[in-house]
């Protein structure tokens, strides 16, 4: 909404400067988007073209001799519409225009001392001018004076952003009410009385639908359709409305001032002498004044002459009855319609206008007649119209204020400050809400222009915003409760902090393409798909974070950063619910000292180490890393594993990306992991009491066994653990060897075994006898000790 300060100041007294006003307004009424003049060029003067000569060296340029008040000088002008005797806007040499500073110039050998301007050269949209060439001022413009003053463009324009509840601010009068309240000043609405002639209006208005609440009309005869005066054109330009002619301009001006849409018909096109408001017939065709044929239905309100539709009520006029240059007599309408019908019609037909916008949001019912009268008065004054008496109308709107009460106690209890009765009263008086205070309660009569106010909370908002939020003290609510993270939230945080010491946390979009959503995890699930996606690559809520992480790897590798070690904590979504998951994707180098020729790159065992360290830090002990029954989707079948707890609780999986998958996602060799966080949380059993440590020295023995390739290192370790029992306190694989001297399909695994006892120093002989037992039992299973 654009509010020219000149218009606002006509209605309400503003006793502070513009800058303070804007600050006040933004703190007490609505958000201010901008505050500026439509045109801020300084030093322009009104000039008069005294003479025109053809340019000797051009067939389209002219040399104009212009009287600028304090001087007469030549200006070379390329406009096609130059005309002797006309008043123009002159930018003299030195004036700073949006396109640059005006300089004295020699144009094809002829000196030019300024420019005769078109509006767009002043930074004003060309649409406001309406014709090509230089902009002409009316004859009453004074030579040498400021043309912006003449055009009423010297005031600031307040642009405000409205919240959906404040449709009352869609009019300058509405803004004036708020202004009056916040400044505690006075408002004066223009008197709208006008004389009528004895001839009576012969058009009868009626409605056949309840969706038309009120309809006021006037007939104005013998109007002169012409250009509007400069002040009216300037006012409209400041409100982003293109001046057309005096009749259209007046209806637009009154619309912006009052928020009440008006419609002017050519009286002579209403041959039946009656106006009947109806619902359109299903399938009815109607040509709107933009010359487009529209298909109507029975939810559209139409203004008819009884038979033929003349106007799409509240949305757009019809081509047939529109005001033409030849129009002599006007039938003027100010009506009020059901907002829902207007909303539906304008949405369906894609016809949104300043009028439909206001009808949709609800107009001030108490200004319908005022708006009609104001426009009528202006038509009389600016178009020399004669107003007929006894106009027809109907008004089914209850023009009553709504009673809402609020107690002083409620105000103070909600706001946390003790307001005085006078402070509150001043707010309600300022807003022109009739009010009465007795027994601690304000009874407030809320006028029709503020349908947003219906509860005591709404009134409290009025009190606090108009008195100023700066009056509210700052306190902290008392609390006896102890805030804390839940154990699960603390668990997630611990994971984040743990991993963030060596990996980089990322956050990616939850919505992915269908293809990405199903790229990993072969479990059965029902995907969450969005009905109205914005783009094809974001249609489905993801079921795995890995595709998104791979996109991040690709993004970084494309930017010459090959080493990407990332993780994300997010959710997987199915129609059955959401589950928190943790995923990692690792590619490239972990650490390096390149000049020493040392470099550690990501492999399966690095990821496995990360995983086991993480589990260790989270007190997760009872889990197994095992070969999955079926190959994991998207992963290398030989370099991947699943993580299982208890009998068959799946905690997650990890491994190397299948080469085909890596190719598809355009990433270099990458290892990925995905864990179920809530399952993981259930497996975490934080330390309750310490495990006793032995005070006695331990004995370490190293052994190497040659086993078949099919025997895993874990198989070997668990065999040894079964035999050695409790005195074996640690076992570690420290070498793996394959070679011809060992035999085909064989490998040698070297282990370091630590023995200790809680209660005594172990004897070498007892350890040796355990070792011998291990050796002989393993030997029987084909696992031979390597001498």
């Amino acid at each position: 909404m654009l509010i020219p300060m000149e218009l606002l100041k006509k209605i309400v007294d503003i006793n502070i400067n513009d800058e303070e006003f804007v600050k006040n307004f933004s703190l007490k009424s609505a958000e201010v988007d901008s505050f500026a003049k439509l045109c801020d060029v300084k030093g322009l003067v009104v000039g008069k073209i005294l003479a025109i000569k053809d340019h000797p060296d051009s067939n389209h340029l002219h040399i104009t001799t212009v009287d600028m008040g304090d001087m007469v000088d030549d200006i070379v002008c390329g406009a096609p519409n130059v005309e002797v005797g006309r008043k123009v806007i002159v930018a003299k040499v030195g004036v700073k225009l949006p396109g640059g500073e005006m300089k004295k110039a020699i144009i094809r050998g002829v000196a030019s001392n300024g420019m005769n301007c078109a509006l767009d050269e002043l930074g004003i949209d060309h649409k406001y001018q309406g014709y090509e060439g230089i902009y002409y001022l009316d004859d009453d413009a004074v030579i040498g004076s400021d043309p912006l003053e003449y055009l009423h463009l010297n005031d600031n324009v307040l642009e405000i952003e409205l919240t959906p509840n404040r449709q009352d601010l869609l009019s300058i009068i509405g803004v004036a009410y708020d202004t009056k309240a916040m400044l505690n000043s006075k408002m004066h609405l223009e008197d709208v009385s006008y004389p009528t002639i004895s001839e009576k209006s012969d058009i009868k208005v009626s409605t056949e639908t309840e969706n038309c609440y009120a309809y006021y009309s006037n007939v104005i005869k013998d109007v002169e359709i012409k250009e509007s005066p400069a002040w009216l054109k300037g006012s409209l330009m400041k409100m982003n409305i293109r001046p057309i002619n005096n009749v259209v301009d007046i209806t637009n001006y009154v619309l912006m001032l009052t928020g009440q849409p008006l419609h002017a018909f050519d009286y002579d096109d209403i041959k039946s002498k009656k106006i009947v408001v109806k619902m359109a017939k299903e399938g009815e065709k109607f040509v709107t004044l933009d010359e487009k044929e529209r298909d109507l239905n029975e939810n559209d309100i139409v203004i008819t002459d009884g038979n033929t539709s003349l106007c799409l009520g509240g949305v757009m006029g019809g081509l047939y009855s529109e005001v033409k240059d030849s129009t002599k007599n006007i039938f003027l309408e100010a009506a009020s319609f059901n907002p829902q019908n207007i909303k539906n019609t304008s949405r369906r037909l894609g016809l949104q206008s300043e009028s439909s916008l206001r009808f949709e949001k609800g107009i001030n019912p108490d200004l319908t007649k005022y708006a009609l009268d104001l426009a009528t008065k202006m038509l009389k004054e600016l178009a020399n119209g004669k107003v007929l008496s006894n106009p027809s109308y109907f008004d089914n709107v209850k023009h009553e204020s709504k009673e809402v009460s609020v107690s002083l106690n409620q105000i103070n209890q909600v706001l946390g400050r003790d307001f005085l009765v006078e402070e509150v009263k001043q707010v309600f008086d300022g807003l022109s809400f009739e009010n009465e205070y007795s027994n601690g309660v304000f009874k407030v009569m809320v006028p029709g222009r503020r349908p947003d106010i219906s509860t005591y909370q709404d009134l409290i908002e009025e009190v606090v915003r108009i008195s100023g939020y700066d009056k509210i003290p700052t306190t902290i609510p008392e609390s006896t409760s102890q805030g804390k993270l839940s154990p699960y939230q603390a668990f997630i945080r611990k994971i984040r902090h743990n991993l963030s010491s060596s990996l980089n946390e990322v956050i990616t979009y939850s919505m992915v393409s269908d293809e990405y959503a199903t790229a990993f995890d072969n479990a059965e699930y029902s995907l969450v798909k969005v009905l109205n996606p914005l783009t094809d690559d974001r249609t489905t809520m993801r079921h795995s974070l890995i595709p998104s992480l791979l996109s991040v790897i690709k993004y970084n590798q494309n930017r010459k950063n090959d080493d990407v070690l990332i993780y994300e904590i997010g959710r997987r979504y199915t129609l059955e619910g959401e589950k928190p998951i943790l995923s990692m994707a690792l590619s490239g180098t972990i650490s390096s000292t390149l000049w020493k020729g040392q470099k550690e790159v990501v492999d399966f065992y690095y990821l496995k180490g990360l995983l086991t360290n993480l589990f260790d830090s989270l007190f997760i002990k009872n889990y197994r890393i095992e070969l999955p029954e079926n190959p994991l989707k998207g992963l290398h079948p030989g370099v991947s594993a699943q993580i299982v707890a208890g009998k068959n609780t799946r905690l997650g999986y990890f491994g190397k990306l299948h080469p085909e998958t890596a190719k598809k996602f355009e990433v270099k060799e990458t290892y990925v992991l995905e864990l179920e966080l809530d399952t993981l949380f259930e497996q975490a059993h934080p330390i309750k009491s310490v495990k006793q440590i032995s005070k006695y020295p331990s004995i370490v023995r190293d052994l190497a066994f040659v086993v078949d390739e099919s025997v895993s290192s874990e198989d070997l370790v668990s065999e040894i653990e079964k035999i050695a029992k409790r005195q074996l306190s640690g076992i570690k694989v420290f070498d793996l060897y394959r070679g011809e001297n060992i035999g085909k399909d064989k490998k040698q695994i070297a282990l370091s075994l630590t023995f200790s006892d809680m209660n005594r120093t172990l004897e070498a002989q007892e350890v040796d006898s355990t070792i011998n037992e291990i050796i002989s039992k393993l030997d029987a299973k084909g696992m031979k000790l390597r001498a």
Binding site: S29, T455, Y469, I472, E505, S510, E578, S591
Partner: protein, 350 residues
């Protein structure tokens, strides 16, 4: 004086000869050991002189013995001190040899980082936990009921147009605000327990991604419902949050706004932390930066969520984590928060 003594005298210049040998710069620990053998060994000159003892008279023996011993000590000391000197030199040489170029680069290890959105969330969580709040989250695929209706946004409410929504089916949508979780909590608490929660999480709106809009974003919504919490409590709480996020000397100001779930509703600005109120590009020359929306909980929301508005009142606020992160760290494009360029990520150490 006997010949024996003369021999002894003659051998005394042996000291000078030894000193000469010891001053030879090519002397090594090895050759010093040989020298010791030569002088003090069984076949050495001192031992040889000792052999003469048996030929001396009892009277001569004591003084001869003393002299020999003195000579022996002298020789031994000379060699010993030389040995020490050589050993020290050897250590010095070894250290010198081991000298490295300390300017060569150290081992490069990937440094981890925490995402800036997580960082801001944790910061805000910690602040509010300190004030007695709990942290709550709910589903992102939410029912219309919780996301809209219970928050006083019935179908066809104009506020729905403010939040263009991704729908999943007739009833379900991607939540447009984490306040959906607030409705869950209030209903869970059953209308007779104080509520003091913040709800951080992801939310979605059907906005085309550009420098300032993102179809996915992060919100932290706060809600307090008690018998007597006031707007001044809200103002004090928000001031504390603004100061904790943007600096202790920050101020806030409140402006009227509109949200269906609060009444009165406010927008909150923080005094510009770049220009300290003088006006700059960051605050668009106003000295103030908009950071969040808030208000007193609308009675309709309280009743629909099981709280009697005659007994309870509340305040609520919602802050965009991306906006806070962008303002705080000078990030100018919201999309860069989701692009995860390592060069940006690694600047936020855990």
């Amino acid at each position: 004086m006997s010949d024996k003594f003369k021999a002894l005298e003659a051998y005394e210049d042996l000291k000078q000869k030894l000193e000469a040998k010891l001053s030879n710069t090519s002397l090594t620990l090895q050759s010093l050991q040989e020298l010791r053998q030569e002088y003090l060994g069984k076949k050495g000159p001192i031992q040889e002189l000792m052999g003469e003892m048996k030929n001396l008279s009892p009277e001569e023996k004591p003084s001869f013995g003393q002299k020999i011993n003195a000579l022996k000590t002298l020789v031994s000391d000379l060699i010993e001190s030389k040995k020490k000197e050589l050993e020290e030199r050897q250590v010095q040489e070894k250290l010198e040899k081991e000298r490295i170029d300390i300017t060569l680069p150290g081992k490069e290890v990937n440094t981890g980082s925490i995402h800036v959105l997580s960082k801001v969330i944790e910061e805000v969580e910690d602040l509010f936990i300190g004030m007695g709040y709990e942290v709550k989250d709910g589903p992102e695929v939410e029912y219309d009921e919780y996301n809209f209706r219970l928050l006083n946004i019935p179908k066809d409410h104009p506020a729905r147009a403010m939040q263009d929504t991704f729908y999943v089916d007739v009833e379900r949508l991607l939540r447009t605000q984490t306040s959906a979780a607030q409705a869950h909590t209030m209903l869970e608490y059953g209308g007779n327990k104080d509520v003091r929660i913040i709800c951080p999480g992801k939310a979605y709106r059907r906005d085309e991604d550009d420098a300032t809009h993102s179809h996915q974003f992060t919100q932290i919504e706060g809600l307090v419902v008690t018998k007597d919490v006031t707007m001044s409590d809200l103002k004090g709480t928000l001031l504390k949050m603004a100061q904790s996020l943007f600096g202790e000397d920050r101020e806030i100001r409140l402006r009227p706004s509109y949200f269906p779930f609060t009444e009165p509703s406010i927008e909150v600005d923080v005094s510009c932390f770049k220009c300290h109120g003088k006006g700059c590009s960051m605050c668009k020359d106003t000295g103030w930066i908009e950071i969040l929306g808030a208000g007193m909980v609308n009675n309709n929301v309280l009743s629909m969520c099981g709280y009697d508005p005659k007994k309870y009142q509340g305040f609520a606020f919602g802050v965009g984590v991306e906006r806070i992160a962008m303002l705080k760290y000078g990030i100018d494009d919201i999309r860069s928060l989701y692009a995860n360029d390592l060069r940006l990520l690694k600047q936020f150490k855990a």
